[in-house]
């Protein structure tokens, strides 16, 4: 019987020994994380679904070849498969669009990234708004690769500092510095996107709805197939 408390390394060991049904435990454990990683890369639910599904099909076929480079988690290995699939899919696409925020949310976000206290709407409410989450994902996708990777490993894969350091072939201290720089850059990217959203909103005002609408369409750059 599959034991959900077993480590990935133990489950892979059982898979290699012939218990292929054990793969369903790994699928259950990582499907949401890989779907969200694919969504981060593509900003499209259908593409995320395809990539997540294909990632697990490939993982099933290649699981016997998996090597654990530090830690017991197969997340980094799945992460690499999913990212490669996303790159293939999105090679000629510009997936992330300017996210539209209403005035209250835009003001709240500008305040929140300066000072958490006294933010309105409350920080609790803001961080859970879908449009805020969309904007932050777009900001993360806009970071340079190593900053994006460290955020994905820590926040999505929930790898420890040690595991992240091993994956990225750096010291733990270097990962702490990288995470720090990534958060400073993320804040700047968020502010840039809030400003872009503000500009679009202002363009759409004062009887210039069409101008705003056109600008929105231009900026959306929907290059999808």
């Amino acid at each position: 019987m599959p034991n959900e408390g077993e480590s990935d390394r133990q489950l892979v060991g059982r898979f290699v020994a012939g218990d292929t049904a054990i793969f369903t435990v790994l699928h259950k454990r990582y499907y949401a994380k890989i779907y969200r990683l694919a969504y981060l890369q593509t900003n499209n639910a259908d593409d995320a679904e395809d990539i997540a599904s294909e990632t697990f099909l490939r993982a099933f076929q290649r699981l016997k070849q998996v090597t654990f480079t530090g830690g017991d988690s197969i997340y980094p290995w799945l992460h690499r498969i999913a990212v490669n699939l996303s790159i293939d899919l999105c090679r000629d696409k510009s997936a992330h669009q300017i996210v539209s925020l209403d005035e209250e949310t835009a003001a709240g976000m500008t305040h929140l990234v300066e000072r958490i206290e006294d933010t309105k709407p409350s920080p609790f409410e803001l961080v859970q708004r879908h449009e805020v989450q969309d904007l932050v994902r777009s900001a993360i996708a806009g970071l340079i690769e190593d900053q994006r990777d460290v955020i994905a490993y820590r926040f999505l894969g929930e790898l420890s500092l040690k595991e992240t350091a091993e994956q990225m072939r750096r010291s733990e201290q270097a990962i702490k510095s990288l995470l720090h720089r990534a958060m400073i850059s993320l804040r700047q990217e968020i502010l840039k996107r809030v400003s872009a959203s503000e500009r679009l909103r202002l363009l759409g005002r004062g009887g210039q709805k069409n101008v705003g609408g056109d600008a929105l369409r231009i900026h959306k750059r929907i290059d999808r197939k």
């Binding site: 012939g18 300066e114 958490i116 932050v136 804040r187």
Partner: protein, 96 residues
């Protein structure tokens, strides 16, 4: 120092599994971590624990994996194979 504490805050936030653990936020503000950095961590964590995964997508993926598991179980060659040396030794003995 800020790097160390931001890293600790990140670890505790992931463990807390809450989108906005007020006590934790207050604790690290009091420890001197800039609010702007705490906010960036909170926003990153929240953005990456969303969106909700469509149940139908997960079930479809599960179904496809189930098919592979079934195929692997019904394949006669899915059992561990003998090494080449063992097969050669058997062949030699069969000949005699």
């Amino acid at each position: 120092m800020s790097e160390e504490m931001l890293s600790e805050f990140t670890r505790e936030l992931i463990e807390s599994d809450e989108p906005f653990p007020q006590d934790l936020v207050k604790k690290y503000i009091a420890l001197g971590v800039p609010e702007s950095e705490i906010a960036a961590v909170l926003l990153a964590r929240s953005a990456l624990t969303s969106p909700e995964v469509p149940l139908s997508a997960m079930q479809e993926s599960e179904r496809r994996i189930g098919e592979l598991v079934h195929q692997a179980a019904s394949k006669p060659d899915s059992a561990p194979k003998d090494s080449g040396i063992k097969r050669t030794v058997r062949r030699i003995f069969r000949r005699r």
